[in-house]
């Protein structure tokens, strides 16, 4: 068995003294693991950093085997990502989310979205907004997508302001106002075609919304936590939001 593909490195576990088992996201083979011999050498250490794009050749005698990867650097993204808080948080969150996917199940859309996201992690607010959109897409790919096309109560397609935690469907402002304390906020930039530039409050609401469903459907049943970098990013955003609010008052 053999295939060649450009991949995104999403994890590495040391194996023995010199090798490592790497976890990559591929466009056609989904999340895939394989052994890299000499992975902890001086030559390969900078190459095998989470967030880098690699050109890999996977070889195994049988399809079910772990297999061996031979790797070459395609795009050194990790060095740039490491320079900023939004970069490291972003890459940790995206890699953490992609590691939730089933092995060897193709998700070409998520692969492309992850690459695009990592190439546009610039500034905390913009990065967090992109991550919220990515999480929405992840929920959809995992079969727990939110229905944000029309109001669950009235059928209206405008003024969608909330999401029902029970049905995961959008609720309009008028129908949702009496139950606002029990509904999740839906910022406009998350809506299909939503182009509005979000502020810190919108992004915090978006991350809380996607975090609620990710926790309920993905992390909770597996008894795992969402990536810790996510709560760090959320904490920073909330601090920023408080700062902006206090400046206004």
């Amino acid at each position: 068995m053999e295939w060649v593909s450009e991949v995104l490195l999403i994890g590495l576990r040391p194996h023995g003294e010199t090798s490592a088992v790497i976890e990559v996201m591929t466009p056609d083979y989904g999340r895939h693991l394989g052994l890299v011999k000499g992975a902890r050498s001086r030559r390969l250490q900078p190459v095998l950093q989470t967030g880098n794009s690699l050109l890999v050749t996977w070889r195994a005698r049988l399809e079910t085997h772990l297999g061996l990867f031979s790797v070459e650097l395609a795009e050194a993204r990790a060095a740039r990502l490491m320079e900023s808080a939004s970069g490291v948080f972003g890459v940790q969150i995206v890699a953490g989310h992609l590691r939730l996917l089933a092995e060897r199940e193709a998700h070409p859309g998520l692969y492309r979205a992850a690459i695009a996201l990592l190439d546009h992690l610039d500034g905390l607010l913009q990065s967090a907004a992109l991550i919220a959109r990515f999480e929405l897409m992840l929920l959809d790919e995992l079969g727990f997508g939110l229905d944000l096309t029309s109001c669950a109560a009235t059928g209206r397609t405008d003024d969608l302001r909330f999401v029902s935690p029970k049905s995961a469907r959008a609720v309009c402002g008028e129908a949702g106002a009496p139950y606002a304390d029990r509904l999740l906020g839906l910022p406009a930039f998350l809506l299909p075609g939503g182009e509005e530039t979000p502020d810190a409050a919108d992004v915090v609401a978006a991350l809380k919304l996607t975090g609620f469903f990710l926790d309920r459907h993905v992390a909770g049943p597996r008894a795992i936590d969402l990536p810790p970098a996510r709560s760090q990013m959320l904490g920073k955003l909330e601090a920023e939001h408080r700062q902006v609010s206090s400046n206004f008052t």
Partner: protein
């Protein structure tokens, strides 16, 4: 099955030596043979030294270094600059910096880095101890000497957040061209980092 050539005691010694980093079964066998051959000159003093270290080794309650005294030799050295704390991941990093003699400061060993893949969270590292030490008005600068990996830099950002508001200057190591490094042989990531971190000449 290969026939045994030594008794169980020597076989056990070989098996234990083979667990050390850098030693495989063959090199462990050679080391064991050397120890047995030089029983009085090597094996006996090594046994004594290992027994002494086993009985006396301590983790420094202040910085996390390993030593036979608590506080350790580095923490009790009066010639060191107490206003600077160098934060490292592991004792091996502390020893590497000391070998270089690049900084005459005190240290703080975190005991690893944040790694979601290995399940290492903030509670598994000695970050609270660092925050307590950094709260001392005598401390002016914290140097984050963690590895230039995604996990290392995530830890650096987390530590920076925790130190916010304490009034200490937080710096980190530069990323770029190593001494003796030829640009032609460097990976693109290091070259990009080097260009971004360029300094006036």
């Amino acid at each position: 099955m290969a026939r045994r050539v030594t008794g169980p005691e020597i076989e056990r010694l070989i098996q234990l030596l083979a667990r050390l980093p850098g030693l495989g079964p063959r090199s462990a066998r050679r080391a064991a043979l050397q120890l047995v051959k030089k029983r009085d000159q090597l094996l006996a003093p090594l046994t004594d030294a290992m027994r002494t270290v086993h009985d006396r080794v301590r983790v420094c309650s202040a910085c996390g270094n390993v030593d036979t005294a608590d506080p350790c030799t580095v923490c009790t050295d009066p010639t060191r600059d107490g206003s600077v704390i160098v934060v490292v991941e592991d004792v091996a990093d502390l020893w590497a910096l000391e070998r270089a003699g690049a900084v005459n400061a005190r240290y703080h060993v975190l005991g690893g880095v944040l790694s979601p893949l290995s399940g290492i969270g903030p509670d598994d590292l000695d970050i609270t101890g660092l925050v307590e030490r950094a709260s001392d008005p005598a401390v002016k600068e914290i140097i984050l000497a963690v590895n230039a990996t995604v996990d290392g830099q995530t830890t650096a950002h987390y530590v920076t957040d925790r130190l916010e508001g304490l009034g200490v200057k937080v710096t980190r190591l530069a990323h770029g061209v190593p001494v003796g490094g030829e640009l032609d042989y460097l990976d693109e990531g290091t070259l990009t980092a080097a260009i971004r971190s360029r300094t006036p000449f």
